[in-house]
Every structure is written in structure tokens, then in C-alpha cells.
């Protein structure tokens, strides 16, 4: 009996490595790639964080709000004649086409988020349902949307679209940063800064923070809670739609019915890492998670480890610092 215990340690060694030389060699490219992914996570994480701040609800269906945006990007661009090969258009035409796809994706995602809130969550709020009921509804809605897409488009991923050929822009520590990474990171950061300004400066943003802090008092002070909640869902949807364009740009073959699921978990992990309910925390958590995932993937030698690493980070954060890195909630954050 004893000898059979020996192979408990796997004999093949290549499934997990601790390839530190490879990480050192690819450090900067992994960093920039990680930041690109991180920017996408952060945009989706904002949707989770805003809804959580206002309603104390993990909106499981947010990943489907995101994937609807991905399909909007796909259909817009294939309608405009984009295909697997690099489009033969001049740079301004490409920019215009991508902007159109961005706007349509944001609208599609925002509309999904709005309908979700009206159809699934509003009836529950009207009758003061307990928290568990909200969560079950959220996961049910998530599956409903996911399988509607499945029945419509089938299980296989959509045709990969190339939006433009990434051209090297400049060189950092011997690593070339290409236009694609630059576009994603800059555009995502601009959107997040805009969101942050909106939440902290605008009248509606103040309403969102007030509802997050104390819904009842906010209502007594004349804040229209229902309108604020709908607005929050729509902002989350708009950001998820923007994330969808960058995601399709980065992973052209990722448009699939189940594509939002894993990304959603990672984005939620990012939100928790930064401090759920905290807008800046979502940005920080997203970028950090992107980096950690990419480093982990190179260190451990298999791309599938990214998801495992993200999950382990989530559990560790919950264990060690459940309030997240920045910690403060949306309601308590300073204007």
C-alpha cells in the first residue's frame, strides 16, 4: 500500500513552474500588458463598485451587461466591414469607426443595465425583499442573459476582428509599448478620472454618495432615490460598454456567450481588492490585479493560472484586509 502513496507529487513538472528568469526577462512587457488588462478590469469593476455602494448588492448580471457591450462592438464593426485581417482604412476613418462602436457599445450596455434594474431589481425593492432574494435574482438574471445569447449565437466564439495594427510607439527599458496598449490605458484612465470627477463634483454624483451613505436620510433631504439608483446602473453600464470595446480590441476572439463570466469575477475581485464601494479603489484594484495576474501567469508558466491567481488574491484580501486597500466606502469618500 505504501508505494502507491509516492506519486502523490506529480511527476510531470511542467504544469507549474517558478520561472523567475523568465519573469525577470519579460518583466516590463508583462507590466504594460498587465496594466492594459488592469484598465479593462477597472472599468468593469467600477460598475460593481457603484451598484454595491448604492444598493449593497453584488450585481452578478454586470458581467452580462459587459458581454452585451462586446456583442454590440462585434456587430457594429463587422457591419462596418472590419474582419480578421487588418482594415485598409486611413487612421481617421478607423478612429471614427471605433468611436461609433464605442458609443453603440456604451448605449447597448447601459440599456441592458437599465432594463435589468427595472425588470429584476425594482419589484424586489418595492416589497423590501431580503438580501438573499436580491442575490438569487441577480444570479438568475445573469444566467438568463447568458443563455439568451447562447441560444442566439451558439457556443463558439465570434469571428476575431482586427481593429488596427498595433504600431510601436516608444520604448521603455527595452520594451516596446504599442499603440494598442497606449490607447486602452489612456482611454480607460480618462474615463475613470471623468467618473471620479462626476461622482465627487456633480449634483447627481453628490446624490449617489448621499444614497450610498444613508438612503433614508438622503430621501428625506430631497434626493430622488429611485432616480439615483437608475443613474448608477446606467453609469455602470456605460463604463462596461467602454470596457467591452477595449476588451474586444485586446482579445479579439473573446466575444463568446460565457466571456463575461470569468472577467466579471476578476473585475469583482479588483473592486474588493481596492475597497468595494470606492471609485478610486476600483481603479487601483483593477490595475493591481492585472499586474498580479500577468506576473503570476509568467511565473507559473500557464495562462490559465491568471484566473487562479486572481481568485487567490480575492480570498487573501478577504482574509487579511476585507475593507480593501483604500477601504473607504463610496458614501464616506471625500468630495
Amino acid at each position: 500500500m505504501l508505494p502507491s502513496l509516492v506519486p502523490l507529487l506529480p511527476t510531470e513538472n511542467d504544469w507549474i513552474t517558478f520561472d523567475i528568469p523568465s519573469l525577470a526577462e519579460n518583466f516590463w512587457s508583462a507590466t504594460f500588458d498587465g496594466l492594459t488588462f488592469g484598465a479593462i478590469y477597472a472599468l468593469v469593476a467600477l460598475g460593481y463598485t457603484l451598484v454595491y455602494g448604492v444598493l449593497n448588492l453584488i450585481n452578478f448580471a454586470h458581467s452580462e451587461v459587459f458581454i452585451v457591450g462586446c456583442y454590440a462592438v462585434f456587430f457594429t464593426l463587422s457591419g462596418l466591414g472590419f474582419g480578421p485581417s487588418v482594415p485598409r482604412l486611413d487612421i481617421w476613418a478607423i478612429i471614427l469607426n471605433l468611436l461609433l462602436a464605442l458609443v453603440l457599445a456604451m448605449l447597448a450596455s447601459a440599456l441592458t443595465a437599465f432594463l435589468l434594474e427595472r425588470i429584476a431589481y425594482k419589484p424586489l425593492r418595492n416589497r423590501n425583499a431580503p438580501r438573499l432574494v436580491f442575490l438569487i435574482t441577480a444570479i438568475g438574471a445573469s444566467f438568463t442573459i447568458q443563455y439568451l445569447i447562447y441560444l442566439w449565437r451558439g457556443p463558439s466564439p465570434e469571428l476575431a476582428l482586427t481593429m488596427f495594427r498595433p504600431t510601436p510607439i516608444f520604448d521603455v527599458f527595452g520594451t516596446i509599448i504599442d499603440s494598442q496598449q497606449l490607447v486602452i490605458i489612456i482611454a480607460a484612465v480618462i474615463m475613470m478620472v471623468a467618473t471620479d470627477r462626476f461622482i465627487s463634483k456633480s449634483r447627481t454624483g453628490r446624490g449617489i454618495r448621499a444614497v450610498a451613505q444613508d438612503p433614508d436620510t438622503a430621501t428625506l433631504m430631497g434626493v430622488n432615490k429611485e432616480r439615483i439608483i437608475v443613474t448608477t446602473f446606467i453609469i455602470g453600464g456605460l463604463l462596461a460598454g467602454a470596457a467591452a470595446l477595449f476588451y474586444v480590441m485586446k482579445i479579439p476572439s473573446g466575444v463568446q456567450y460565457s466571456g463575461g463570466f470569468v472577467l466579471g469575477i476578476k473585475a469583482f475581485a479588483a473592486a474588493v481588492l481596492g475597497g468595494i464601494g470606492n471609485v478610486r479603489g476600483a481603479l487601483l484594484g483593477g490595475l493591481l490585479l492585472g499586474l498580479i495576474g500577468n506576473y503570476g501567469q509568467i511565473l507559473l508558466g500557464n495562462s490559465q493560472w491568471t484566473d487562479v491567481v486572481a481568485f487567490v488574491v480575492l480570498v487573501l484580501v478577504l482574509l487579511l484586509r476585507p475593507e480593501g486597500i483604500l477601504g473607504t466606502s463610496l458614501g464616506r469618500s471625500k468630495a
Binding site: 438573499l132 444570479i139 443563455y147 469575477i265 480575492l314 487573501l316
Partner: protein, 415 residues
């Protein structure tokens, strides 16, 4: 600690509770005429059941159990899933789902914790049975029946490992962590060579015994003995869980479900009981996984989609979270509907996803609502105390007061 940043949900829990209290006291007083006809049909069934004597209840139960055992042999014409699906195997599948639902019901129904990665525990149980019995596995081999307790112990360990970091926090985190865990188990089964990815493990063991012609009784194609084994396990597990439900553990779970802060304040060690609920639920999931591995005889990484977790959840919610009979019924239905109506089998995830939303919006208590006997008991006790003091029971028509709930919390606090 846990819910301090959310004033709304606490109110809502109180409001729901008050409503439930009222229902419960009505039920206790036997005033079923207050209910709208139709909507409470199943509630009336429960009333009638409560009105029977103990002997009559046992008599009915024996008949139901005997019928359940005979089900695959009778193969009733309209109910049968044939042609298309072998009815005995369908029965086993229903029993498997029912067992899973009973286990998940402990987590979701009693303790009110949302576990979205239940399939992961099921997978861990399956892999335990496969790796300890299959000739493809290089490890220690033990007889199949011994893998059932081993699988339970291992999944319980995983449940505690996952529960300890997350259960200290608000329940929401558990939902996302379990959802992630469900996916991680599948990924690990793919990338760790010892788990054999898609190749998997063939010829998983089965219980001993051969028929007269020398073939094993528990063969993969013969559903009847597997169904009987699973049914027996369901009965044992249901009895054990029922005992837990009526013990101080069960009272603590219900107190946690109804209002965790209040339970904590009244002295219920909520963390400890949440971990218990989670670990017990995980163990039952592992047990059903080991049974599944034995019946199918083949385990690989393709069998454990996270999406299946949603079917499990739908089973509990459909039957009525917190009611073990409801869980059995819900589990059997969720398995039965796609097997019987093969035309809609392809749409099952969509159907049960929509069902989850609709049930939550229109009938969140499910087909068989959880029994509120405990709350009703608290209410009658309170009424007796107040009337003994010469006061009228004033709370009867006051929706906001919840003395029944308070009594429950006190009962929980004794635990």
C-alpha cells in the same frame, strides 16, 4: 461588523419577518380563511399535514417511501421518461439532484448563505471517489463504499478552508468566492496532471455484489440499485438534517438567516454556526459527487460546469428554501423536467435562470414554504406570557412588532 453599512436590508428583513410572523401566527391559530385562495394552496397542504396525528403522518410517510422505492420498477406510463431516457437512470439522477438540494438547502435555506459554487464540492467528491478507486489512478486504492465518508471528509475540509476567510464577512462575499471556487476547481482539474484533465478516470469503483449471471449489481447501466442506494442515503441524511434543524444548531441557523446582527447580539456565535452550515452542506455535496462518480464510472474535467451550480440553486429555491421536503421535490423536478420533456432540455439553463428571477419576484418562498413553526411557537409563547400578566396580546395586529422573532433570537441565544 457585518451589516452595519446597510440600513435598508435590516429594515427589510424586519418587515419580511413581521409578515412571516403574522402568517405563522395565523397558521398556528388555524385561521386559514385569511389567505387568498389559490396562492396558498401548498400552504393549506402543509396545514392539513400538521393537523394529522403522528401515526397518520408516519403511515403516509411509509406509503410515500415505499412508492418512491418502487418507482423505477413500476415505471408509470405518463410520468416515465422513456423513450429517450432510461427511467431507472432518470430516477437516479432525480435522487442525486434531490440529495444535492438537501445539502444546499442547509447552506442557503437554513443559514441563508448563498453558495454559488456548490458544483465544486460535488466535483471534489467525485474526484475523491475516482482517484481512490479507479485503476487509472496511481494512488492508494480503497473499496468504493469507503470513499463515501472520505469524500465527505475531504469536501468538508474544503468547505472549512473556503468558509473561514469569507464567513467572517457579510454573506455577499461568500457568493462571489464560491462562484470563483467553482471555476477554479475546473481549471485546476485541467492543469494539474494528477487530475488527468479531459482524459479523466475510467472504471470508477462501485459497491460490491454480483448478480447471478456474474455481472456486478451496481453496474453503470443499471440505475435501480444506484437509485435505491441514493434514496436510502437521502432518507438518512434528511433525518439527520431534520434533527439538526430542530436542535440548537438549527435554531441558531434560522436566527442567523432572519437577522444576523440580532443573533450575534443575543449571543449566538454566528461565525461558528455559519462555518458548520457551510461545511455540512459541502459534505453532502461531496457525498452526492462520490455517488455520481460511482454510477457514471467516469470522471473528467468536463462534468463540472459552474452553470450546474445554478441548477442546484434553482432546485432549492423552486422547492422552497428552508424546507427539506421542498428541497427534495425541487431537486427531483429540476432533474426530471429536462429528462421528461427532451424537447426543452436544450433550454434548461435559460428556463431555470428565468425561473429563479420569476420565483424571487413573485413567490420567493418557493413551492413549499419553509415551516414557520418555530416563529409561531415563539409568538404563542409570547401571547401566553402577556395574557397571563393580565394584558391583552396587543401585538396580534401590529405588523411592525416582532415578538415572535425576538423569541426565536432568544431561543437561538440559549444555544
Amino acid at each position: 461588523m457585518s451589516m452595519t453599512d446597510g440600513p435598508t436590508p435590516m429594515q427589510t428583513v424586519a418587515a419580511e419577518q413581521a409578515a412571516e410572523d403574522r402568517e405563522a401566527s395565523l397558521k398556528a391559530a388555524g385561521r386559514s380563511d385569511h389567505r387568498q385562495p389559490g396562492k396558498r394552496r401548498f400552504g393549506n397542504l402543509s396545514d392539513r399535514w400538521q393537523a394529522l396525528s403522528r401515526q397518520q403522518q408516519w403511515g403516509f410517510l411509509v406509503i410515500v417511501v415505499v412508492l418512491a422505492y418502487l418507482l423505477p420498477l413500476i415505471n408509470p406510463p405518463i410520468i416515465t421518461t422513456e423513450p429517450g431516457n432510461n427511467f431507472a437512470l432518470a430516477c437516479f439522477d432525480m435522487a442525486r439532484f434531490a440529495l444535492i438540494a438537501v445539502g444546499l438547502n442547509v447552506v442557503v435555506g437554513y443559514a441563508g448563505l448563498l453558495d454559488l459554487g456548490y458544483v465544486a464540492f460535488f466535483a471534489v467528491g467525485s474526484y475523491c471517489a475516482a482517484m481512490l478507486t479507479s485503476p487509472d489512478s496511481p494512488y492508494l486504492h480503497i473499496p468504493y463504499l469507503w470513499t463515501l465518508p472520505v469524500a465527505m471528509a475531504v469536501t468538508m475540509f474544503f468547505g472549512v478552508m473556503l468558509g473561514v476567510p469569507t464567513l467572517r464577512l457579510r454573506g455577499d462575499y461568500l457568493a462571489i468566492v464560491t462562484l470563483g471556487f467553482g471555476e477554479i476547481v475546473r481549471i485546476l482539474a485541467t492543469i494539474i496532471p494528477a487530475m488527468k484533465g479531459q482524459v479523466g478516470f475510467q472504471n470508477v469503483g462501485h459497491p460490491p455484489g454480483t448478480a447471478v449471471d456474474g455481472t456486478p449489481i451496481f453496474s453503470n447501466s443499471n440505475g435501480v440499485p444506484w437509485y435505491w442506494l441514493t434514496l436510502t442515503i437521502i432518507i438518512i441524511v434528511t433525518l439527520l438534517v431534520g434533527n439538526l434543524e430542530r436542535s440548537r444548531v438549527g435554531r441558531a441557523w434560522i436566527a442567523i438567516r432572519e437577522d444576523e446582527d440580532a443573533a450575534e447580539i443575543m449571543g449566538v456565535p454566528t461565525f461558528k454556526y455559519k462555518v458548520w452550515a457551510f461545511a455540512i452542506g459541502a459534505a453532502i455535496g461531496g457525498l452526492s459527487g462520490a455517488l455520481f462518480a460511482g454510477q457514471v464510472g467516469f470522471v473528467n474535467n468536463q462534468k463540472f460546469d459552474v452553470t450546474t451550480s445554478i441548477l442546484f440553486l434553482a432546485a432549492v429555491v423552486l422547492g422552497g428554501a428552508g424546507n427539506k421536503v421542498g428541497a427534495i421535490l425541487g431537486g427531483a423536478l429540476v432533474s426530471y423536467i429536462p429528462l421528461r420533456f427532451t424537447a426543452i432540455a436544450e433550454y434548461k439553463y435559460l428556463i431555470f435562470g428565468v425561473a429563479l428571477v420569476l420565483i424571487m419576484i413573485f413567490r420567493s418562498q418557493g413551492l413549499l414554504p419553509a415551516r414557520q413553526r418555530l416563529l409561531a411557537y415563539g409568538r404563542t409563547a409570547m401571547n401566553q406570557i402577556t395574557s397571563r400578566n393580565g394584558k391583552e396580546p396587543t401585538d396580534k395586529d401590529n405588523p411592525s412588532a416582532g415578538p415572535g422573532a425576538r423569541a426565536v433570537r432568544q431561543k437561538g441565544a440559549e444555544a
